[in-house]
Subunit: 441 residues, 2 copies
Amino acid sequence: MSNLLIKCMAVLTMTGEDGIIHRGEIAIRGGEICHVGASGSTPGDFKADRILDCPGMVAMPGLVNCHTHAAMTMLRGYADDMPLMQWLKEKIWPMEDHLTAEDIYQGTLLSCAEMIKGGTTTFVDMYFEMEQVARAVEESGLRAVLSRGMAGFGPNAEKAMRENIELVEKWNGRAGGRITVRFGPHAPYTCPPDYLKRVIEEAKRLGVGIHIHLAETLDEINEISEKYDKSPIRLMEETGLFELPVLAAHCVHVDDKDIEILARRKVGIAHNPQSNMKLASGIAPVSRMLEAGATVGLGTDGASSNNNLDLLEEVRTAAFLQKLSTGDASVLPAYQVLSMATAGGAKALGLEEQIGCIKPGYKADMILFDMHKPHLYPLYDIYAQIAYAALSSDVATVIIDGQIVMENRRILTLDEEAVMQAAGRSAKALVERKNASQKNK
Amino acid sequence: MSNLLIKCMAVLTMTGEDGIIHRGEIAIRGGEICHVGASGSTPGDFKADRILDCPGMVAMPGLVNCHTHAAMTMLRGYADDMPLMQWLKEKIWPMEDHLTAEDIYQGTLLSCAEMIKGGTTTFVDMYFEMEQVARAVEESGLRAVLSRGMAGFGPNAEKAMRENIELVEKWNGRAGGRITVRFGPHAPYTCPPDYLKRVIEEAKRLGVGIHIHLAETLDEINEISEKYDKSPIRLMEETGLFELPVLAAHCVHVDDKDIEILARRKVGIAHNPQSNMKLASGIAPVSRMLEAGATVGLGTDGASSNNNLDLLEEVRTAAFLQKLSTGDASVLPAYQVLSMATAGGAKALGLEEQIGCIKPGYKADMILFDMHKPHLYPLYDIYAQIAYAALSSDVATVIIDGQIVMENRRILTLDEEAVMQAAGRSAKALVERKNASQKNK
């Protein structure tokens, strides 16, 4: 790993709204940031092996995608515009039954390529065949928090538990520390309290956290309320889940008491505005959550309910959706929503002392926006420009753990062409297998 | 103008959901489409001067941006995250007072560059110094519907009327027919009925249509209701506005009776979902409007309330917002929302027999999407891929009126670099003028 010096138009440190360094530079040594300051401020004893001189670019921490199912890019656009349960039962689940380990590997590689090109440096995944996901993460150079999605009933409950334990044992802390593993109990309505208690026990034993879907739809609220006479959040509180570090995806349907619990128990919330809109799930009360002191990051969810993994779109949508739903154009301003996509996301994953900011001692995870585009002129306010006007395709260069993973839009860790071709072939074979099995029925 | 033959992966004709021609080709002669069909189907007597062979691209009609204030890119990101009236009074209007004709020209050129790069081939504008806007449109090669924004009271009421009349006389039908002019009475709350009646008279005399803001905010509804005891739509109906071809921007706050009027009077509705979200205006009931037979196109509104002119973002946001607001994930599916951005927009402008579809006899306004990107793999459904996963930066090539305006992301009609630099300089001088005038107060 070489010593890197980045010189750019501005550094958004994301350590505070005034943390903009115009004509700034960042020195990176051994995967870590060792200096951030104005042009020329890097100590003389820092010997750069390489200088990235980017006078037309803005550096900021890499984006953190707090919730996705990466391999589902394999089903991108396979079925859309359908009511949730019909979509799952008739389309998504039958296709998932035919996904092979190889499909999951190829689908995740494709997602990694897409996320790198969109400026995401860390993502949180929940799926199956997670060994394949870990392989793809290791190759791509991304940072990731991985969990095996577990349903607590049916024939796969024990298998999933075993696989998540193995995933922790084999992959937690691997890929030079870029991979963290959590347990992935799917949701309160698929994991009964007894099963969850066993998950909690195992997670405590292994010293890892939890990634779960919580309070996504009204159907879930109704089902949990009928069964347990309480909200999903309160059920999880009683089950003891929040004694562990928890990342809860969605939290769309939550009341003030739920929000108080989420804030007090320091639960990380992954807000997925486009998925919640596309599936007609609802609007998470993000501005109330933030007011209550809760930690909120942003996620894309899987590509079949989005249909891309573009976190910058989520930034814009999150801000606009809160303005709309509160009737107040001043809520969730540009800096705050960009903070959710970086420092906030890092905190939601319990990685706030490692990533999400550009400051000495932090991991060198950062992106460079090329501001030399018609839609980014003129430039009055960098936060507003990136939050409200920029496209993910304006990200020119991506650095993760000190490694240049993309430079001037070219991915250096993966063969982008081969990844696309392989994903296309996998998808074709997948459809053929599914069609053949239908004929056999 | 040369004869062009385009060969591509697929042609989305947008003449109907089944109007996909896989491995298609389009022949263009003299600015018009003369043939569309499968590969090899072009009649032998068509002599192409140039063949665009694009096996990895999808052709579709150019996007129609039904409502913007192009020169407001000059204020992009100048003020955000504020309540509407405070934002207008303290920030936008004081800056607009200092805009010169040159600023408007440069800001519009910048917008034209941005729109071309995002796949927009026709836009609808309302602003002042419209002569400058017309010049920029003529140079850029875009198609546009222009109107002078008119407030019906205050010292500028007569000046605005006179300027709109001159704009019609001088520019309607100009730029090889690419420019159409309408009258631009700003809104019911800024244009009293007597003034509107004079506008209607002039528009009838000159044989042109109207472009107006209607039912954008609840404040407007309350103000009009207090003054006239009816909704803005009903007030316009009574004033006789709908006897003319009308393009009404927003229509956020409308009831069933309003929708019935809009549909019956064939008013074109410009839906601006991101602006309506960012300004916390509300959600237009687009799916009910479409059910009632109304004509709806999409717009970005000005860059200061968006903050870009990216119509493909509006496509995605429009679809997701209707799913969310109706609670039904099946409403406004991919084809329908893409149709709003093309054929629907054309109809909203009364240009449905000239643009919005790829078919013989229509103007050759079309765009080519480069599908060879990680976020566009694998490919199951082209409509869903473009509506829900593509970025405006995936548009590789843009043809307007038979002219190749952008090829492989390079604009051929404008010097993009010079346009950006000039816009940057104009913005800097604008801020200096404004600051100087504040000191003098």
